[in-house]
Amino acid sequence: MNISPSEAEEALDAIQVMMQKTRRAISSSGAYKFLIVWGVIWMVGFLGSQFLPSEIASFVWIWLDILGGLLSAIIGIRMNRGVRTSSPTTSGRRIAIFWLLLFFYCAAAIGVAWPVDGKQLAMFIILFITVGWIAMGLLLSFASVWWGLALLGLSLVSYFLLPDYFYFIMAFVGGGGMIILGLYVRNRW
């Protein structure tokens, strides 16, 4: 079988494109759901922190955190159903366990540091979520690591330098940004 160099180049390009598309499809197939879930939770939680008394807002956050942990676990289990390993759902199950453990670590850290005010509570949750996000990025799609780091940076800057606008920034830029990014990832695939 003989082909010209230009045909060889075309074939190699087709291979490259297909491999990249496959990698992207596998990695983005569940990542956007995490983003949308946590984006909505952030938006609701931070708006609660802005408008509700701090004690109520703290409880709202705890329940939102539980909800987010459970939804993340379900998403992890259901991820990549189109692709399975010889030991089915092992990776999904591990992702689910990771998020549940992260949730318990977060709750334990808050318990140890208690009493904390609303902003400190929110910052604890943000720190743990962004750790989870970056870990998922390293595991599934490296590009999303940068978004996680950007969100972490924004949170820290808002917390230390713009405390009066912290909740608003987190609700609309943080939460809204995650929802938009999640929709972008979903539509790109």
Binding site: M1, I3, A8, A14, M18, T22, G82, R84, S87
Partner: protein, 97 residues
């Protein structure tokens, strides 16, 4: 020197193999997932998968998941080896330009 493989070189089969070798050796992809990824019809994909299966380059595993029939496809060890040889042959042709 690595040689081109006529079975794999066909455009759709080349893309199928590229997608399958991207997965880990212990992973397999569902037929529908692969069809959507390649943007081909059921019939077209089925015909090309048969050719690759006959050549021993892929493995087709029909099973039931939650009582629904599912077909999973994966590259065999031989398929991965032949594909990497094919890629090496393509690169050699390009270098000789």
């Amino acid at each position: 020197m690595a040689e081109l493989n006529e079975t794999i070189h066909q455009t759709v089969r080349l893309r199928i193999m590229a997608a399958l070798v991207t997965l880990a050796p212990n992973e397999e992809v569902e037929f529908i997932y692969l069809r959507d990824l390649l943007e081909v019809t059921d019939g077209n994909l089925g015909a090309h998968l048969r050719k690759l299966e006959e050549a021993g380059y892929i493995s087709v595993n029909k099973t039931f998941v939650e009582r629904k029939p599912r077909t999973y496809v994966s590259a065999t060890t031989d398929g991965r080896k032949v594909f990497s040889e094919h890629v090496a042959a393509l690169e050699a042709i390009l270098k000789s330009k």
